[in-house]
Symmetry: C2
Subunit: 328 residues, 2 copies
C-alpha cells in the first residue's frame, strides 16, 4: 500500500504539445488524481498559450478538489530545445513564434508557484524511468513514434540535453541516405521512413499503384482522416498491405534502435508515442529482432527494449517527477 498522500507535496505535471496541453495533479505517491486538457492554439501567440497553460493547470487542480495552495511546484515538458537552468524555451519548431520564451518566469508570475521546464521527450523518458522501469537504469534512450519521431535521453541517471539543449533529435538521424525527402531538407531521416506520416504515405502510394486494402472500405478511397488505430483494425482483419507496411516500418525502427545502442550504449531502450500505443504489440517482435541483428556484438548484452504503457501520460508523469525532485 502506498503511503497516504501528503497534501503539501502535490505537484502538477504539464505536457505542452503542438495541438494540445495536458496537465495532471499528482499526490505524494505519484498517483495522478486529476487531469485537464485544453487545445494549444499556438496561432494566438505566446502570451495566449501561457494563459492556456495556466488555465489547464488550475483545471487539473480543481478536478482533484484542491487549490493551488496545496501544490508545491509545476513541471512542464515543452516540444523543443529548452534551457533547463534558465527555464527558457529556446525554440519549438511546432509552436509558432516560440523563440527564447521565458516560460518558467512567465508561468511563475501567473501561478505564484515554482515552475521547471524541460524538453518534452526527455521528460517523457523521465516519467517512464520513475513510473515503469523498476531496475532504475542509469542510461535510457526513449524513442517516441508519432507524426514525427522524438527522442529523449537519460545519462548517468539524469535527463541529458547536451550543449545546445538539442540532444535527442533522433528523428533526423539519416539512416537511408538515398531515401525519401524529410521535412527538414535531408533525405532518409529516421522519421521520414518510420513515423506515422511515413506509414500513411507508404499505404497511400501503394493504393495509388493499385494495391488493395480494407482501409479504403473503412475510410474511402482517398484514405482521409486515417489514424493509427485504423492500422490496428486493418491488421487484425488480416489486411496484407497494412501488415507489409507496418513490418517494413518496424524494421526501420529496429535499425534505428541498433544505431542508438551502438552509439550510446544505453541500459534500456523505451519505445512510445501514438504509433507504438496503437500497433506496438504487432511491431515489437520485429523491432527487437532487427535491433539485435544490427547491433554490434556485446552492445546488446542485458539491454532491455521495452514499450511504455504510460501512453499520453508519460509526459505529465515525467513533468510531475521533475517538479517533485526540484522542490524537495
Amino acid at each position: 500500500m502506498p503511503e497516504p498522500s501528503n497534501k503539501a507535496e502535490h505537484v502538477v505535471g504539464v505536457d505542452l504539445g503542438g495541438t494540445k496541453i495536458l496537465a495532471g495533479i499528482f499526490d505524494g505517491s505519484l498517483e495522478c488524481i486529476g487531469e485537464a486538457k485544453v487545445s494549444t492554439k499556438a496561432q494566438r501567440g505566446v502570451g495566449a498559450v501561457v494563459e492556456r497553460i495556466d488555465r489547464c493547470v488550475r483545471e487539473a487542480v480543481d478536478e482533484a478538489d484542491l487549490s493551488l495552495k496545496q501544490v508545491v511546484g509545476v513541471g512542464i515538458g515543452a516540444p523543443g530545445a529548452v534551457d533547463f537552468a534558465a527555464g527558457n524555451v529556446i525554440f519549438a519548431p511546432n509552436l509558432e513564434g516560440w523563440k527564447e520564451v521565458p516560460l518558467k518566469k512567465d508561468l511563475e508570475k501567473h501561478l505564484g508557484l515554482p515552475v521547471f521546464v524541460e524538453n518534452d521527450a526527455n521528460i517523457a523518458v523521465l516519467g517512464v524511468h520513475v513510473a515503469e522501469l523498476k531496475s532504475k537504469p542509469k542510461s535510457v534512450v526513449g524513442i517516441f513514434v508519432g507524426t514525427g519521431i522524438g527522442g529523449g535521453l537519460i545519462i548517468n541517471g539524469e535527463p541529458y540535453s547536451g550543449f545546445n539543449h538539442t540532444a535527442g533529435e533522433i528523428g533526423h538521424m539519416v539512416i537511408d541516405v538515398n531515401g525519401p525527402k524529410c521535412g527538414c531538407g535531408s533525405r532518409g531521416c529516421f522519421e521520414a521512413v518510420a513515423s506515422r506520416t511515413a506509414i500513411f504515405q507508404g499505404i497511400k502510394a501503394a493504393v495509388k499503384d493499385g494495391e488493395k486494402t480494407i482501409l479504403t472500405e473503412m475510410l474511402g478511397d482517398s484514405l482521409e482522416d486515417m489514424r493509427s488505430g485504423d492500422l490496428r483494425k486493418a491488421m487484425r482483419r488480416g489486411d496484407k498491405l497494412v501488415a507489409k507496411v507496418i513490418e517494413q516500418t518496424a524494421e526501420y525502427i529496429g535499425i534505428g534502435v541498433a544505431n542508438l545502442v551502438n552509439i550510446l550504449g544505453p541500459e534500456v531502450v523505451v519505445l512510445g508515442g501514438g504509433v507504438m500505443e496503437a500497433i506496438g504489440d504487432e511491431m515489437m517482435p520485429v523491432i527487437t529482432k532487427i535491433a539485435k541483428d544490427h547491433a554490434m556484438p556485446g552492445t546488446m548484452k542485458g539491454v532491455d527494449i521495452v514499450a511504455t504503457k504510460l501512453g499520453d501520460n508519460a509526459g505529465i508523469t515525467g513533468a510531475a517527477v521533475l517538479a517533485r525532485r526540484m522542490t524537495k
Copy 2:
C-alpha cells in the same frame, strides 16, 4: 613557460592497437619526452602481448633516460569494450583471443606500477581534449577514420562508455540502409561507406569499370599496397577519380557528423585517424558544409568541427592524461 617537470610525476601512456603498440613517457607538463613502438603480434596470445606492452613501456622510459621508479602510473587505451573500474578488456575484436582479459592486474604485476585501462577511442578524445581543445568543452564526439571508423565520447567532461562499455561504436551506425555490405553483417554502416577500406574499394571498382587514375601509374594496375598518403599525392596531381571518391567520402562523413550532433548535441566534434591525417585538409570543408546542411536548426550553434593535429599521438597523450588524473 611551463613549470619545470617534476620527476616524481612522470606518467606513461600506451596505445594498444591491432598491429602495433605505442608507448610515450610524459613529464609534469604533459610533454612527451620519450617514445617506443613494438608490433603487437596478437597471434602469439594474450600473455605474449602483455609482455610486449611491458617491454614497450620500459623502452619508452629508457628512451628518456629515466627508470620505472620515476613513473607514478601507466594509462592504456585498448581497442574494444573496456570495464574501466575493473581494468578488464571485455572483448577486442581485432585482438585474437582477447575476451575478459584482466589487463590492469596483469600489467601491474609486470611493471609494479598502477595501471588504468580505457577504450582507445575514448582515450584519444581525452588526449585531444586536454592537449588541443582550449575551451575545455563538456561534451565531445571523436570520429576516427582509418581502416574502420571508431568513435569516442566525452560527456559531462568525462569519457563515456555506457552500460556495456561499448558506447561510441559509431562505425556501425547505419546511414545507407541499402548500401554496401559491412563486415559486421549489416548494410550501409558508416564505416562501410566512409572508411579507408570504402575509399580503396570505390577506387578499385571505378578502375575495373575503366576509369582512369594516376594511382595505377604510381602503384600498378592492381593498386596493391595503396595507402592514405597516395590519395593525397594523387589529388595534388589533379587526379579526378580520386577527388570524386574523396568528395563522396567527405559527404558521408558530413552526414555522420550531422547524425551525431542531432543525437548527442556535443560542443565539439573532433575528426582524426589515418585518413584525416593524410587528406583531412581536402575533406574538412566538405565535411563541415554537409554536416551543417544536415543537422537540425539550432543544433550546430557554436559547435566546433575540428581536425586533430595530434595524429597517432592522440592515444598515448590521452592515456597519459588518464594516468595523471588517476594518480593525483
